[in-house]
């Protein structure tokens, strides 16, 4: 079963939504794919308790003539087509133009105790809570870096979490310098002030980071390293995130070139967002972390480009460039303290899928050799977590991804349009 689209877009976050609306307004047949149940992406993820921001509601409402394909997971690339999987089966979606709006994921850094139950990413915990995961009354420590910590904290508090503090690794002088620069972006400044107001009474400390987490079966305490030494805090949950990493796996599977401006690759695009493969564009975080404003502008630019309107796309380039400037500011002011790269010890698990410790990876300078010898990165996440960690720690860069992009049924890889009814007993399937 093949569906044909003029413009196919992967990722229904701010970039994908803007791209879809732009391309559809020009009369193109547009398909917008997202693995989640609702459009919005990470930043505009639907919150069961709270109304979405107006911009998000408007962007989703503007999709009238777009075919929104939620609960669709992209699993493989075929010539000018993507294989997608749903609950019921799989299908092939073919395209004339493809826009990659695959966003970013959280950067997690290993420290002793980071795999204890109760420790999650900051964005990861925010996403869980938005979906209704109960957090009311729980004592939560938030740590890591960047303004996204404040957004996560605000969500958690609105859902009843007892925030024990927000621990930002950037030193106070740099955060203040950042705040002064914010005046050049009044909308951002207003946002920051509003967030801070929602977090009144919650300690916000700078130049501090989680050194280790402790507990038997689950998290009980965390050690916070600060300018005045180490403090031990009791808590039920720890949410820790060190910023974002572009999702480039689909781009790589499609053969699009990537570039490396940091430890992590981003999709290589020209100023008009063309990738190295004809007919494929990329917008937003996948091209380098730029934030919401960049994502929306690049989505619109890619939408114009995908329907062949270079002139309309060009009109948006100056605004996009200015918005990208804000991202540079973030990257500079929230750059990571080198001590964060030294927290994990030889016993710290790096690959959670295959239980590989950092010590077992000593002596390897190549991801593939390490993988063959230790299985690091061979699990279901295909190195999204451990490969990114090892690149961040300066060990070696991640090896390329292989299909399927995410675990998929064998029936999907065999091209089945519908799945048979499950007959396999869960006793067999779930037994470890």
């Amino acid at each position: 079963m093949t569906e044909r689209y003029d413009v196919l877009i992967v990722g229904a976050g701010p970039a994908g939504l803007a791209a879809a609306q732009t391309a559809a307004s020009r009369g193109a047949r547009v398909g917008l794919i997202d693995a989640q149940a609702r459009a919005g992406g990470q930043v505009w993820r639907h919150d069961v308790r709270r109304t979405a921001p107006r911009a998000a509601r408007e962007a989703i409402a503007a999709l009238r003539s777009v075919e929104l394909l939620t609960n669709h997971q992209v699993v493989a690339a075929e010539p000018s087509a993507l294989r997608v999987e749903t609950q019921q089966g799989s299908s092939l979606l073919s395209y004339t133009s493809l826009i990659l709006a695959t966003g970013a994921r959280e950067l997690l850094l290993p420290f002793p105790g980071w795999t204890l139950p109760g420790v999650t990413g900051a964005g990861g915990m925010q996403a869980l809570v938005k979906q209704g995961w109960p957090i009311a009354g729980k004592r939560v420590v938030i740590a890591g870096s960047g303004p996204l910590l404040l957004a996560a904290a605000a969500t958690l508090r609105a859902h009843g979490a007892r925030l024990q503090g927000i621990y930002e690794q950037a030193p106070v002088a740099r955060v203040h310098a950042f705040a002064r620069q914010l005046l050049r972006w009044p909308a951002r400044a207003t946002q920051a002030v509003a967030l801070r107001a929602q977090l009144a009474g919650v300690p916000y400390r700078f130049g501090t980071f989680v050194r280790s987490a402790h507990g038997e079966a689950a998290l009980r305490t965390v050690d916070i390293e600060g300018p005045h030494g180490t403090t031990r805090l009791d808590c039920d949950l720890l949410a820790v995130g060190y910023g974002l990493v572009p999702n480039v796996e689909l781009a790589q599977l499609l053969g699009c070139a990537t570039v490396q401006r940091s430890a992590h690759p981003q999709v290589q695009v020209d100023p008009s967002l063309r990738t190295s493969v004809a007919g494929i564009y990329a917008a937003g975080e996948a091209n380098g972390i730029g934030g919401l404003a960049v994502a929306r502008l690049e989505g619109a630019i890619a939408g114009h480009m995908a329907v062949g309107d270079t002139a309309a796309a060009n009109l948006l380039l100056p605004r996009r460039d200015k918005a990208r400037g804000f991202a540079e500011l973030l990257a500079t002011h929230f750059s990571l303290d080198p001590r964060l790269h030294q927290l994990a010890d030889a016993q710290t698990l790096i690959c959670r899928c295959e239980d590989v410790t950092l010590g077992e990876l000593d002596g390897f300078s190549d991801a593939r050799a390490a993988k063959l010898a230790t299985r690091c990165g061979m699990g279901a996440c295909q190195g999204r977590i451990c490969g990114t960690v090892l690149a961040e720690l300066g060990r070696f860069s991640r090896s390329g991804s292989r299909p399927p992009l995410f675990p998929a049924r064998l029936a999907t890889l065999a091209g089945a349009a519908t799945f048979p009814l499950p007959t396999i007993s869960t006793e067999v399937a779930d037994h470890e």
């Binding site: 493989a76 075929e78 294989r83 190549d366 593939r368 050799a369 063959l372 010898a373 061979m378 699990g379 279901a380 295909q382 292989r402 299909p403 399927p404 675990p407 998929a408 049924r409 064998l410 029936a411 999907t412 890889l413 065999a414 091209g415 089945a416 799945f419 048979p420 499950p422 007959t423 396999i424 067999v428 399937a429 037994h431 470890e432």
Partner: protein, 370 residues
């Protein structure tokens, strides 16, 4: 001033499982060994392989070599790095003709000293309840096993190193001047050379024809106890040894981790390493016909590899035709993991002037010069 070339008793080119086994055997013989490998150890066909230790019996020479090797694999049965799992091989028969063929094969294997039993349909389903209805029976080869090949290759190289072998990691042999090997950093190693570069053989020994035969594999998440034996269709040999440009066969293996490894495909004309959706589809459909529940399992990764294939399907083991102090061990097609240890032993016997335990004539590279 030019530094004197480092001198060795044997320079092993290539550290796939075959080269690694040769280096291990040579160092055990007391030879001063060099190993030259540009990539990860066991990073070529060895990494892509299923790691099934199996006696193939349709060619007497192949049976002799695989049986000889299987005996040597027993020494690795308790080695942690080998991840040796004695799951046995269960050959599945569809129809009475295949069941009759199973009987012939069991007799042939037994004659070669490999334990094998013919099974009726009831016993087959007792052993593997997940098989689709309608199978006629099969053949069980209970002592066969699966291993994890890249770690074995690494172990063998490290064992050779512990006996003094020198590993030139990240170095490539660019040419074979008389009396040694020239590396890509311009240096030269002097001594007899053993080329074990698999599909890359023609780059150094163009007189020995070799083709890469592409294969696909898929591995799933963990489903312990879903399958208990390495499963193959009795028609597998037709795919493995047939000359068809492309073929698929039911070839499914339970890994010790609980994961299911699914093969197999063979293609001569495909030269790029990308996973082919069409070939993957054909291979999976073949496997679903034998194990319908596979459809519902979650696949975590698919990959391809290239089997080094000689014109007659037998490896080159012996002296390089027209060469002096040049040896070759390459071209094991899909049986390189099974036969690596026996190949190494055979080759070292030839190099050291001992009489090999099995007749080396069928593998002599000189057959190509005739």
């Amino acid at each position: 001033m030019k530094a004197a070339a480092a001198s060795y008793d044997l320079i092993v080119v290539g550290a796939g499982i075959v080269g690694a086994a040769c280096a291990d055997a040579a160092s055990a013989d007391g030879l001063r060994v060099a190993i030259v490998e540009p990539g990860p150890i066991g990073g070529g066909a060895t990494a892509a392989a299923m790691g099934h230790l199996v006696a193939m019996d349709d060619d007497p020479a192949e049976l002799a070599l695989s049986r000889y090797s299987l005996q040597q694999w027993e020494a690795f049965a308790d080695l942690k790095e080998a991840e040796f799992s004695r799951c046995g091989t269960l050959w599945v028969a569809r129809g009475d003709a295949e069941l009759a063929a199973a009987s012939t094969r069991a007799t042939r294997l037994a004659a070669a000293g490999v334990e094998a039993h013919v099974l009726d349909a009831n016993t087959l389903y007792e052993l593997e309840p997940a098989l689709a209805p309608g199978m006629s029976g099969g053949m069980l080869v209970p002592r066969e096993a699966v291993v994890y090949p890249p770690r074995v290759a690494r172990y063998l190289v490290q064992r050779a190193q512990s006996r003094g072998a020198q590993l030139y990691a990240g170095r490539r042999v660019n040419a074979l001047p008389r009396g040694g090997a020239q590396l890509d950093d311009g240096s030269t190693l002097s001594g007899p050379v053993l080329v074990a570069t698999g599909c890359a053989l023609p780059a150094l020994l163009p007189q020995l024809p070799m083709r890469g035969r592409k294969g696909h594999l898929v591995i799933t998440e963990r489903y312990p106890n879903l399958l208990r034996h390495q499963l193959l269709e009795l028609g597998y040999a037709d795919s493995a040894h047939g000359d068809a440009d492309s073929s698929v066969a039911f070839n499914v293996q339970p890994r010790p981790t609980g994961q299911i490894l699914i093969g197999s495909s063979r293609e001569f004309s495909a030269t790029d390493a990308a996973v082919s959706p069409a070939m993957l589809q054909r291979m999976l459909e073949r496997c679903f016909a034998f194990i319908p529940t596979l459809r519902q399992l979650q696949a975590v990764r698919a990959w391809t590899g290239f089997r080094p294939t000689t014109p007659d399907g037998r490896p080159y083991l012996g002296a390089v035709p027209g060469g002096t102090n040049q040896w070759v061990a390459a071209g094991h097609e899909g049986l390189g993991v099974t036969t690596a240890l026996g190949s190494a032993r055979l080759l070292l016997d030839l190099i050291q002037g001992r009489e090999p335990a099995i007749d080396p004539t069928p593998y002599a590279p000189s057959r190509m010069a005739a």
